[in-house]
Amino acid sequence: MNFKITKKRFLLAFYGGVVGVFLIHLVLTLVSNVSPWGGGGFGMFSYSFGSSTIAHIHLKKEDAVFCLNEKTLKKFSRNKIMYSHSTHQINKQVQKITALSTHKYAKKIVEQWFSYRWLYNPQEKLYFIQEKDVAIPSGVTDVDFDSIQVVIYDQWSKKETFSVEVKK
C-alpha cells in the first residue's frame, strides 16, 4: 500500500472522527440532556448547567417520604454502579434496601437510573444528598413504601424527577 495514501486515510479518518464526535455531541446536547461540558463537544464553560449533579432517592408512601442515607456516591458507569472508594457505600445502601420486603424494586430503580444515565445528563460528579428532615431514623431497618422517587438537580437547580411504583 502506498504510504502517502495511508497517511491521507489516517488524517481523513482522524479529522472525520474529531468533527463527527463534535457534531454528534452537539446534537445530543440540543435534543437530550447530555452534558455540554464533556464528551468532546468542547462546550465547557459555555452553558450554565451540566457540570455537576445532585440527586435524592426517596422512598414514598402517601404523604410520608424517606430520603436514603446516601452522601457521597461519585462514580457511575453505563450499566452498573461503579466501584470506587466511595461506591461501596451505595452498594451497602442497595443491600440495606435488599433487607426490605420490596428490595428488588428499590434496587431496580437505582440501577435503571444509572443504566441510561450515560445518555441522560451524564456527569462526572454525582452527589447523593440526604434531606435531614426525612432521613430514615437510625436503628430502623424496615420502611414501608409504595414508590421510589429519584430527584435530580444539576448544578443550577434544573430539576428532573421520575418515580417508579412498587408492585405489591
Binding site: 474529531v18 468532546g40 468542547f42 459555555s46 452553558y47 450554565s48 448547567f49 435531614k132 438537580y153
Partner: protein, 304 residues
C-alpha cells in the same frame, strides 16, 4: 532554597539552555512525558477506571511500571512501542467513559493519537507533521468551542461567568479590584448552596451588586474574542498567517484564562501542542512556553 539556586545557578542555566535547544522531536516527548507523569498519571488514570477490576486496576499497576520504566531506559521515550502502549490504554479508557470524560482529556487523546501516528512518518517530515497538525487541531477545537459559545444562550449574556463569579473560589483574587466585599459574597453563596443541598431546596444565590453581572459580560466577551482570534489564526492558511502570532495569542490565552482559573489539564496539553510548533532556533518562544509552565507548576504544586 535561594542559596541552593544561587550555588547551582550556572548549572541550571546550562541545563535549561540545553533543553531550549533540543530538536522538537526530542523536546516534545520529554515535556509530554513529564506532564503526563505529574498530571495525567494521577488524575485521569485514577479517576475513571475503578469499575474495571482487572483492566484498570491490575492493568493500571502494570501501566504504571511500564510508564515509569522510562526513568531507567530513557530511550523508550522516543519509541513508537512505548507511546503506542500508552495511546492504546488511554483510548480504551476514553472510549469506555466517553460521555463523562472531560474535554481536555479527549483533546489529550486526540493529541496522543497524532503523536503516535507521527512515528510512522519519515524522520525528516515528522517535525513538520507534528507542527502542522498540532496547529490545525488547536484551531479546530477552538472552532468547536466558539460554535458552542455562540449558540449557547448562557455565555455571551454573561450568565455562566456570573454564576461562577458568585460561587467559585477561583475568582477570589478579584476582591482586590472590586469596591465591595467579594470574598464575603462568595462565602455566603457557598454556604447557601450547601444549606440548599442539605435541605433539598433550590439553590438561591445572592446576586451581589449589578456591577458583577457587567464584569461577567465583559469577561465573557473578552474570552470570546480571544478564542475567536485563536480559531482564526490557527486555521488561517500559512500564507496569510502572521509570523509567530499563533504562539503569542495562545500564550496570552493560557496566561489570562488558565492561570486565574487553574484549569490544569487544558493548560498542559495546549502548552505541549504549542511547543510542538516551535523549532530549536525559536528560543524566546520556547522560553515563554516552558517559563509559563514552570510558573504554573510552582504556583499549583507549591502554593495552592
Amino acid at each position: 532554597m535561594i542559596f541552593l539556586i544561587k550555588s547551582h545557578w550556572q548549572r541550571i542555566r546550562q541545563k535549561s539552555a540545553s533543553i531550549l535547544y533540543l530538536p522538537t522531536l526530542r523536546l516534545v516527548p520529554l515535556v509530554h512525558y513529564f506532564l503526563f507523569l505529574i498530571y495525567h498519571q494521577f488524575h485521569i488514570f485514577y479517576k475513571y477506571p475503578e469499575s474495571k477490576v482487572f483492566l484498570f486496576s491490575l492493568g493500571h499497576q502494570v501501566l504504571l511500571l511500564f510508564f515509569l520504566s522510562v526513568l531507567f531506559i530513557p530511550k523508550l521515550l522516543y519509541s513508537a512501542w512505548f507511546w503506542g502502549g500508552i495511546t492504546a490504554y488511554y483510548w480504551i479508557l476514553l472510549i469506555d467513559n466517553w460521555f463523562i470524560v472531560n474535554n481536555h482529556e479527549i483533546l489529550a487523546g486526540y493529541w496522543q493519537l497524532l503523536f503516535f501516528a507521527s512515528f510512522f512518518i519519515s524522520p525528516q517530515k515528522r517535525a513538520i507533521f507534528l507542527k502542522t497538525h498540532s496547529k490545525f487541531l488547536i484551531g479546530l477545537i477552538f472552532l468547536f468551542s466558539i460554535i458552542q459559545k455562540t449558540i449557547s444562550p448562557d455565555f455571551l449574556s454573561g450568565n455562566v461567568l456570573h454564576k461562577l463569579l458568585l460561587s467559585w473560589e477561583s475568582y477570589l483574587f478579584l476582591d482586590i479590584f472590586l469596591p465591595f466585599d467579594y470574598v464575603g459574597l462568595v462565602q455566603e453563596n457557598l454556604q447557601n448552596m450547601f444549606f440548599s443541598d442539605q435541605q433539598f431546596l433550590p439553590r438561591q444565590l445572592n446576586q451581589g451588586p449589578p456591577i458583577l453581572k457587567t464584569i461577567a459580560k465583559f469577561m465573557s466577551l473578552g474570552a470570546y474574542v480571544l478564542e475567536l482570534s485563536i480559531t482564526i489564526i490557527f486555521l488561517l492558511p500559512k500564507k496569510y498567517a502572521f509570523k509567530h502570532a499563533q504562539h503569542w495569542v495562545l500564550l496570552l490565552f493560557i496566561v489570562s484564562t488558565y492561570f486565574p482559573l487553574r484549569i490544569t489539564g487544558f493548560m498542559y496539553i495546549l502548552t505541549v501542542m504549542g511547543l510542538a510548533q516551535t523549532q530549536a532556533n525559536q528560543r524566546l518562544i520556547r522560553t515563554m512556553y516552558l517559563g509559563v509552565l514552570t510558573v504554573y507548576i510552582c504556583f499549583d504544586v507549591l502554593i495552592f
